[in-house]
């Protein structure tokens, strides 16, 4: 709790001393994403222009998804369409900047949609209203009509990246466990969805209990734990074909908590022998495996650094769950978590600079982040049960699962900025847990 208050204070002070949103009416249109961003940048996105017959609805829908993406970050605020003075009726016509200045839209996104024979082309421009200039260059994306949401996400990623200087995360997918049924008879299926909960597809049928899917870095494969054989065993699934197979290993031995190495060739996971759970690495192609830890305690939840050289994991060798870092080849591990409570499910950020984790303290669960040496711990959430963080591809946002208390309890996915702001529930058709955020496509 103390930690949370401390981090909120830090946000406030930073914001006062160094306002980070480019509110000035001269100078480039720019958001510096720091903990200090508290005032979202106002922008307008009128309906895109339909350049072919019958394209009106699609043109409107695409603009709405762009707006949902941008506003959903908490960094942008949409000026409502009702307030617009100008209408954009032609993609090529000059922009009436004065009309957009008058409603204080600092950024304007214009676009057009045309379709021909099932093929859709979306083009867009981003305008710095107060400078009266275009920000970057116009671009276009082409695809099939049923891929329109992806094209909208690509537009939003471009806008986000041009204004913040960082890559976006909208055109990305999340693999997760879809949950149904009461707590004592819960059915679990692997599913994949767009980052915003749209386009859910199921990857397993729900007969076997499945847990904790993890995307490969290229988003083509998923590791997960399945009870299909009666024992929890690590499986690997090709997303394209939805074919899965069990990873090699000894029959009747539990293996779980898998994660890919950045090279996509090696898998780290936990293996249980007797009362002892250790971390192992396996070469997927050859099936050759190697034991990386050998303490008589529980070592699990391994996650590679983005350069593949180190592994962060949890261990209760000290008596309670704590976080440790070791070389990817095993050996001596150094403890990095020293605060009160238990630390678990560490995940290295894609930028390499932070580790997200679950923390359990005084009967509450938190999602938090710390530097890779354990310093600057910051708790982002607090609830009855939060667990299992996963990073957005740009390292700015974390998704996790939150389970509600009691007999009717159920699990949902949430996102939160690494600043601790902008906590939001992700809409999923059923209960959901164990998210793993894939790459920007």
């Amino acid at each position: 709790m103390k930690q949370i208050i401390a981090s909120l204070l830090a946000v406030f002070l930073t914001a006062v001393s160094a306002p980070s949103v480019a509110l000035a009416q001269s100078g480039p249109l720019r958001i510096e994403i720091t903990e200090g961003v508290i005032e979202p940048l106002p922008y307008a996105v009128p309906d895109f222009v339909a350049e072919s017959a019958g394209g009106q609805q699609l043109a409107q829908q695409i603009a709405r998804v762009v707006a949902e993406d941008l506003t959903g970050t908490g960094l942008f605020r949409e000026v409502p369409r009702e307030a617009h003075i100008s209408q954009i009726t032609s993609f090529g016509s000059p922009v009436q900047f004065a009309d957009w200045k008058a409603i204080n839209a600092q950024a304007l996104i214009t676009g057009a949609v045309s379709s021909e024979g099932g093929r859709v082309v979306v083009k867009f421009r981003v305008w710095d209203v107060f400078a009266g200039t275009e920000l970057g260059q116009g671009m276009q994306f082409a695809g099939t009509a049923d891929g329109w949401r992806r094209m909208a996400h690509k537009v939003a990623d471009q806008v986000y990246s041009r204004i913040t200087g960082e890559s976006g995360y909208f055109d990305s997918r999340v693999v997760f466990v879809s949950e149904s049924g009461p707590k004592d008879q819960r059915a679990k299926r692997l599913a994949v969805m767009d980052y915003d909960g749209a386009n859910v597809q199921y990857l397993t049928g729900g007969n076997a209990l499945v847990l904790a899917p993890r995307f490969s870095e290229d988003g083509q494969r998923v590791l997960y734990t399945s009870y299909e054989t009666g024992m929890p065993r690590v499986h690997v699934l090709e997303v394209g074909t939805v074919q899965s197979r069990i990873l090699q290993g000894q029959d009747g031995v539990m293996s779980f908590a898998p994660r890919f190495a950045p090279n996509g060739q090696t898998v780290v996971y936990s293996l249980t022998q007797g009362s002892n759970t250790d971390i192992w690495a396996m070469d997927i192609a050859s099936g050759g495996s190697r034991q990386l830890t050998s303490a008589p305690s529980i070592e699990t939840a391994p996650s590679y650094s983005p350069d593949g050289s180190q592994i962060v994991f949890e261990s209760d060798r000290s008596g309670t769950q704590q976080l440790y870092v070791m070389s990817a080849s095993g050996g001596e591990a150094r403890r990095i978590s020293f605060g009160q409570g238990r630390y678990s499910t560490p995940v290295w950020s894609p930028r390499g600079d932070m580790i997200a984790f679950t923390k359990q303290n005084a009967g509450r669960f938190h999602i938090g982040v710390m530097r890779t040496d354990g310093s600057e711990e910051r708790l982002l959430t607090a609830s009855f049960l939060d667990e299992g963080p996963t990073w957005a591809p740009n390292g700015r946002v974390i998704m996790f699962a939150r389970e509600t208390q009691g007999a009717q309890g159920s699990s949902s996915l949430y996102t939160v900025d690494i600043s601790g702001r902008n906590l939001k529930r992700v809409r999923t058709p059923e209960g959901a847990s164990d998210p793993s955020w894939g790459p920007l496509q």
């Binding site: 004592d184 679990k188 209990l209 904790a212 009362s275 529980i298």
Partner: protein, 172 residues
Amino acid sequence: MRLTAKLTMLMAVLAVSACTNANRFDNDAVDLNAATGSAGGILPGSASDPRSPAYFQQTVGDRVLFAVDQSTLSPEARATLDGQVQWLLTNSDYNAVIEGHADEQGTRAYNLALGARRANSVMEYLVAQGIPTNRLRFVSYGKERPIEICSEESCYAKNRRAVTIISAGLTG
């Protein structure tokens, strides 16, 4: 005959995972009235066949409970397991799978490992008391299969368990 027994047991195992009623074997295909009082320790007139898995489950006691984050066996747990040992020694046709479980207050992977610790504690005890290793195996469900669903200690206490599930001998 052997095959029939196996199938019956599979149904019984399924019934265990699908319901929380302590008398869940009552409606099952296992014949509970086949014999009475043929082995020591049961009340005359009991409906249960002491050689049946249902008897094991209801009368011997199929589960032991654990303290928070612990896998050590309490004196009560040992007493229950001593009964399990006697039953398994008498009924050597049967094997057993020990299922380890955790309450919901923990993260998923850790609870899987914790459930394994608990199941392994039971298995080691049974082996130490003379049950051959090849008749036993264990599996952990972590926090995935609670039998009580409230978010209070009264439920958590029952969920922190290791359950010995009797199965037809598969190893011969």
